[in-house]
Symmetry: none
Subunit: 123 residues, 4 copies
């Protein structure tokens, strides 16, 4: 399990953690019922507050990606492969739909967008 925090990105730390963990769950790196490391351990390793990690864990639980057993730890929710796929495209879809509006008001054509996309994807 790997987490990288950027202090310059502007996004809140708990959200960066959420995005990275959720991605790892959704693309199968963290399989069902995997036990996440204790929040205090993560906090120490990342040199951030326990509260901040907990906040990220809460968002994950709220999104239905992990479940908590008091006194034991937090675990990856068992999800059917198609449920995983659904969540994955849903998460990406929301972001993409929001950005599309902006691209369109900028007057970019669909082809222009796709061209830029391909260029970026290879990096």
């Amino acid at each position: 399990m790997e987490i990288v925090i950027s202090n310059t990105s502007g996004d809140p730390i708990y959200q960066q953690i959420f995005e990275q963990i959720s991605a790892q769950i959704l693309n199968g790196v963290l399989p069902s019922d995997t036990c996440l490391p204790p929040i205090r351990t993560v906090a120490k390793e990342l040199r951030i507050s326990v509260i901040t990690v907990k906040r990220a864990w809460e968002e994950l639980e709220h999104a239905g990606l992990i479940y908590t057993m008091a006194g034991k730890g937090c675990f990856v929710t068992p999800l059917q492969p198609n449920a995983l796929d659904e969540k994955r495209t849903q998460l990406a879809g929301e972001k993409l739909a929001k950005d599309m509006e902006y691209y369109k008001t900028l007057g970019l054509s669909l082809d222009e967008i796709i061209a830029m996309l391909k260029k970026d994807y290879e990096k």
Copy 2:
């Protein structure tokens, strides 16, 4: 000149204004040397604070899209068509590059992204 503000989007108001005006400049709706309306007028019409409009204008000036003549008003910066295009793709490109990272960590393939893109674009 049209601006629509959403209270529920979560984005700060000044940024919503910036995005909409900049888009109108970059896609040619607002041609070179067009005089923008006084910030007090805009503030009244949108029922928001003058400070907020000022902040948006500042961002526009900082981006080199408008220039201010003290006592006279704010005007659209004259730009060569290719300069316009460059800024346009630059702005879109920054956003797109940032989002791409997320799509990739989610494990989406290029084809999947393009498919979703096409679907959204038609709406």
Copy 3:
């Protein structure tokens, strides 16, 4: 707007606040776009931490019952009457379904439950 906190109930404070405010929104006591009092004010009045109030507000926002405008305050989300009704019965329904299981394992008949219900309702 009235909030009563019980330290003996065992339920966390933020949840008590959430339940009371959500109830007031759902039964129409707090109409659309009502501005909630600042979290610091509520915290002072209830003699609890700002964080605890904020936590309750977050849950309300997550439930789609209020929306936040940074720098201005928090407001009741405008909802169609039927949407209100739907949320209301949904919230109650979840709790009720959970309890029903227990009543059934206790071997209570439907009539027994209804009888107790009527007796309690009048209090």
Copy 4:
């Protein structure tokens, strides 16, 4: 004697056990002086800690539903049928009274509650 544990319900394990055993005692499935299995056996079968089972047994004893004979085991307390009934309605009544408050603050009418109740009961 059957016990089912849910890791996702959020309720503590010892409480889940308590609710299920107490229900079985109160509705007569476990008659007077029945000997409960040793806590170590239960712990093994459910793959949980002995401490957790012990905790549930303690709650049962505290509720007057079982009694312990050191070195011999735990047994169901002999209760008159009407005493059983009393405890049963008392347990259910406490829960129901608590929930009623919430339903009422949500503005649900008695008829609405009963309607939902009937619908749920059949499931």
